[in-house]
């Protein structure tokens, strides 16, 4: 009961946040410079044709009415029509979103498999050369932006060592092996960039847990250090790490906007850039909403997972 209650509360929060996001997305895209009708019709358009197009697009309506129309459409699943492509925004996004998700999820998997063992080892060997090396490497990963990692990986693995394509996307349904082949470099580049935060969080959270009473008590039971670390401390240390992973996933999703450009990955990131370049307001708004939604969903899942891992949250918390 408490668990459902907890999830319902999180969902209610999400609905409110989403409403705020629509306001911001709508407000921001409407203060972008440039007349949409003029952009569509070209520099030779007459005043009348611009006015006619604005009326057709509903752009002559007061802003609040445009907003309400848009939000009502959103609720019904109608995100409007792309000005540039002339097709429904929802269709454009539906094609590209899974590709971006594939990239972001793969990158998160790469970073988790790297960072958690590194973080645990660094914590167990606190203040030894191993710890310092691991922390230093993670710091290097952190200090370069994602797109630079992309360029480094392309240079090293595709151009110098060879064996990996520099760009492009292949659907895993058409050719799974080629798909993975194309995925490895962008996913690793982003994964490495994300590793640092998660590793540092794992390390500090693990160090905290290792000084807890229950760890000492577990040792007093005669458990081996390995069992103490993996069975007792890690599960507790994971709780704050999960938030960071969820946060990093959303960060990765922001990162794809740039990285997709580097690797010519036809996902939602490139779609967003195209929308900005072309003042394609309905498309841009749709992209923002979807990216925000992904962000919120990943945090919601983190909360739910949180509650799953930590029984104190699952059952409504302690006094």
């Amino acid at each position: 009961m408490a668990f459902i209650s907890y999830l319902l509360k999180r969902l209610a929060f999400m609905a409110i946040t989403l409403l705020l996001v629509t306001l911001i997305a709508f407000g921001l895209t409407n203060i972008l410079p440039g007349n949409v009708a003029l952009l569509i019709l070209g520099p030779n358009a007459t005043e009348e044709s611009i006015a006619a197009l604005e009326a057709q697009l509903g752009l002559d309506q007061p802003l609040y009415l445009q907003y309400i129309d848009w939000v009502v459409g959103l609720i019904q699943g109608d995100m409007g029509t792309s000005l540039r492509y002339g097709t429904p925004v929802s269709e454009l996004i539906a094609i590209r979103l899974p590709r971006s998700l594939l990239l972001a999820i793969s990158a998160t998997i790469v970073s988790v498999t790297l960072s958690i063992p590194l973080g645990v080892i660094a914590a167990v060997r606190k203040n030894t050369p191993t710890d310092l090396t691991a922390s230093m490497l993670a710091f290097v990963g952190l200090s370069l932006p994602i797109f630079l990692w992309g360029l480094v990986f392309i240079y090293v693995f595709a151009l110098t060592l060879g064996g990996f394509p520099t760009r492009g996307y292949v659907s895993p349904f058409e050719d799974p092996i080629a798909a993975i082949h194309h995925l490895i470099l962008p996913a690793s580049a982003m994964g490495v960039a994300l590793t640092a935060y998660i590793m540092r969080m794992t390390r500090s959270s693990m160090i905290d847990e290792l000084s807890e009473d229950y760890v000492e008590f577990a040792r007093s039971k005669g458990l081996s250090e390995r069992a103490v670390v993996l069975r007792h401390a890690l599960k507790n240390a994971a709780i704050p790490v999960i938030t960071v992973i969820a946060f990093q996933f959303s960060y990765a999703f922001g990162g794809v906007v740039v990285l997709e450009e580097v690797f010519s990955w036809p996902g939602i990131g490139r779609l967003t850039l195209t929308a900005i370049e072309n003042r394609d307001i309905p498309l841009l708004q749709g992209c923002i909403i979807v990216i925000a939604l992904i962000y919120m969903l990943s945090n919601f899942l983190a909360d739910a997972f949180y509650a799953y891992v930590d029984p104190r949250i699952r059952y409504g918390g302690e006094e």
Binding site: S220, G222, H232
Partner: protein
């Protein structure tokens, strides 16, 4: 020293810690032996080396600590010679640990069952289901109700006392020969402590297991141990049979330790308090470590090395003391400070603080929807309801000028919330507070701020209440400036005077809080409170974090300055002995309400309200000759989110009379003609005076959760 029949023999054990300031010898050549089936207490103040001794025996000392020398022989085996792997098969199997804090010693994300079964499977060659059965048996042995279903619950679903039972169940599951109990009841309320001690006594009788009881509480030692070792600054200074040591201590430190505790049936004599505190382990003095504080120290005590434990002439067998004068001193009588008589109880009649029907309800949970909760209505449909924690629910009392009123109760009863609400640090949700005639509940923030000069508060932990970045002079001076009491040189002089008055040096004015010990910091907090010349000081557990000898110093100080500065105290404590020692009148709180209010003698001597009676009986006497009949309460304090109907105590009351207790809330009634003694109970005074015969009435049994 080592005898062949001892279960455990510790010889010249030395454990050191490397710190940035140098090497700290936490355990300094300690030797003792423990027989089969024996319960031995190791008692001492914080920093004495008790816990490090315990951890050394289990070889749980980790970097930067190290066992440097000595031997630990357990069951004929030299534990220090074992490999880490061999040692692991001893830990949790032959020697088990019951740790101090049940709230933190269990892993919050594993079920209780997983944590018991894990130990069993580690040391016994049994399958999952068999281990589970053994675990359930162990839970039964420690009297956890309904173990078969509770085994799959998580630690947070258990109360503190029940968690401590789980820890004991883990300790027992592999049938060890030795249990090391490291302050097993320190984190528990007194009524829960009584039950856990009873359980340990039972288990020891049934199983013949040996127990090494690490504690700072002489009462616990007196009620559970056969023998005791007293530790001071890393050394054992006295060992012997418990009865002998309480009868006639042979080391002056043991004597002062006993004298520093206010007895639960204490008269109001001044406590005998030593000056100073335990020496810094890195800068031990020449000669006896205790000489600087010892009232019997002579020149010879201050040279050479620290004396070793030696048998004392004329003392019963087994008594050893590390004191060069042990043979000649007679310490059988409590030390009395000469020339200082405790003032007599006076009657104070002019009211200073009047609290009427004070309420403080907190919204449960935080955030926008925090206190909303899904619930089922009687019809079974889901509804949302707002929930409140009734931390203080209709509390009334008065404090007269010059008087000390105690507020006593177990954790979670609302006593600290009363303190903060009275001070208007928390806004009351109902009721009236009059201070010196001013209705605080009606005043605005600014008026309250100017009245705050008259009301000061001292908290339990001076470390967190003194600003670490300010000097003592700046901390104390701030209030004086704010309330226009003194500035400039005059201020400085006043602060120096105050520091000297509370037992510090005038030169301490430019030091920072971290340069002082806990007891000294509490003195600074007291000086800080006095600086603004208040009428009332609210003391919220002011001595709970302090060692007994320091506690006695602070209690004496509070007592001394009361008349001198014309102070009234609201003294909040869970420690009945301390309240009884210091207070004129006392209010006993239970679940946000006052169960009983009256003069200390009326309330405690003899106790009337069943809760007061249970509370009093649960306090372990620091005197092995006084085995009191403890009333063991069922269950724990119910949640203030969902308090019981009628009398809040009815779910645990050993004298519950029937339905009236469940349906009608008892109102405070004056006892006889004395309007000053009020009891909230449906029983008549005669009924309350009868001894508790039966365990709680059938059907009223409430499970702890």
């Amino acid at each position: 020293m080592t005898t062949t029949d001892s279960l455990l023999a510790v010889d010249d054990l030395r454990t050191q810690f490397r710190t940035e300031e140098g090497i700290v010898t936490a355990v300094n050549d300690v030797s003792f032996a423990l027989d089969h089936g024996e319960v031995m207490g190791i008692v001492g103040e914080s920093g004495a080396g008790k816990s490090v001794t315990a951890k050394s025996i289990m070889r749980l000392i980790r970097y930067p600590g190290e066992i440097v020398s000595g031997s630990i022989t357990f069951d004929g085996q030299d534990l220090l010679a074992l490999s880490e792997k061999e040692m692991r098969s001893v830990r949790g199997n032959k020697i088990t640990l019951i740790p101090q804090d049940p709230m933190t010693a269990l892993n919050p994300v594993l079920t209780v069952g997983q944590q018991i079964i894990e130990t069993i499977q580690l040391h016994q060659n049994v399958g999952e289901s068999e281990a589970r059965e053994i675990a359930i048996e162990a839970m039964e042995d420690v009297e956890i109700p309904d173990p078969a279903s509770r085994i799959d619950e998580y630690p947070h679903e258990f109360s503190g006392g029940m968690r401590q039972r789980v820890l004991i169940a883990i300790g027992l599951a592999c049938e060890p020969d030795l249990i090391i109990a490291d302050e097993p009841t320190t984190a528990l309320d007194v009524t829960t402590q009584a039950k856990i001690l009873e359980l340990l006594n039972d288990l020891r009788e049934k199983r013949g297991v040996s127990i090494l009881m690490i504690t700072h509480n002489l009462g616990v030692v007196a009620q559970t141990c056969d023998r005791v070792g007293v530790m001071y600054a890393g050394n054992l200074v006295e060992t012997g049979r418990v009865a002998d040591i309480f009868e006639q201590p042979r080391h002056p430190y043991t004597r002062t330790l006993i004298d520093a505790i206010p007895a639960v049936d204490s008269d109001r004599n001044r406590l005998y308090a030593l000056g100073g505190s335990m020496p810094d382990l890195q800068a031990l003095p020449d000669g006896c470590n205790f000489a600087d504080r010892c009232p019997h120290a002579i020149e010879a005590c201050r040279s050479g090395s620290d004396p070793a434990l030696e048998p004392v002439a004329g003392a019963p067998g087994g008594t050893e003391a590390a004191c060069i004068r042990a043979d000649e001193l007679d310490l059988s009588e409590p030390a009395v400070e000469e020339g200082v008589e405790r003032r007599h109880r006076e009657t104070h009649t002019e009211p200073l603080l009047e609290v009427n029907g004070l309420e403080k309800h907190f919204s449960a949970g935080d955030g926008l929807f925090g206190n909303l909760s899904l619930a089922r209505t009687d019809g079974g449909s889901l509804t949302l309801e707002r929930r409140y924690v009734k931390a203080v629910d209709g509390v009334s009392f008065t404090i007269n000028r010059g008087e000390t009123v105690g507020l006593v109760g177990e954790s979670g009863c609302g006593k600290s919330t009363v303190a903060r609400t009275v001070m208007q640090l928390l806004e009351p949700t109902g009721g009236e507070v009059y201070f010196d005639g001013h209705p605080l509940h009606e005043l605005g923030k600014r008026e309250i701020r100017s009245l705050r000069q008259e009301m000061q508060i001292i908290f339990q932990d001076p470390k967190s209440s003194l600003n670490p970045r300010k000097t003592v002079g700046q901390i104390i001076g701030r209030g004086m400036e704010k309330h226009d009491i003194a500035t400039g040189n005059e201020k400085r002089e006043r602060i120096e005077e105050l520091l000297e008055r509370v037992g510090l040096q005038a030169s301490d004015i430019d030091k920072y809080p971290h340069q002082f010990s806990g007891g000294q910091q509490q003195r600074i907090a007291i000086a800080n409170a006095l600086a603004v010349e208040p009428e009332l000081i609210v003391c919220d557990e002011p001595v709970s974090a302090l060692d007994v000898s320091v506690q006695a110093q602070i209690l004496n100080l509070l007592d001394d300055i009361q008349d001198e500065f014309g102070l009234s105290y609201l003294f909040i404590s869970h420690n009945i002995s301390v309240v009884r020692h210091l207070c004129d009148r006392v209010a006993v709180m239970y679940l946000g309400k006052i169960a009983e209010f009256g003069s200390v003698d009326d309330v405690f001597d003899p106790p009337y309200h069943p809760y007061t009676e249970s509370l009093l009986s649960a306090v372990p006497h620091a005197d092995p000759a006084q085995m009191s009949d403890r009333i063991l309460l069922e269950g724990t304090v119910p949640s203030p989110l969902d308090p019981p109907s009628g009398c809040p105590f009815h779910t645990r009351c050993p004298k519950k009379i029937g339905d009236v207790c469940e349906t009608d809330e008892p109102l405070p009634e004056a006892v006889g003609d004395e309007s000053t003694h009020q009891i909230s109970c449906h029983l008549s005074v005669e009924e309350m005076s009868e001894p508790v015969t039966d365990r709680p009435v059938a059907g009223s049994k409430v499970e702890e959760s």
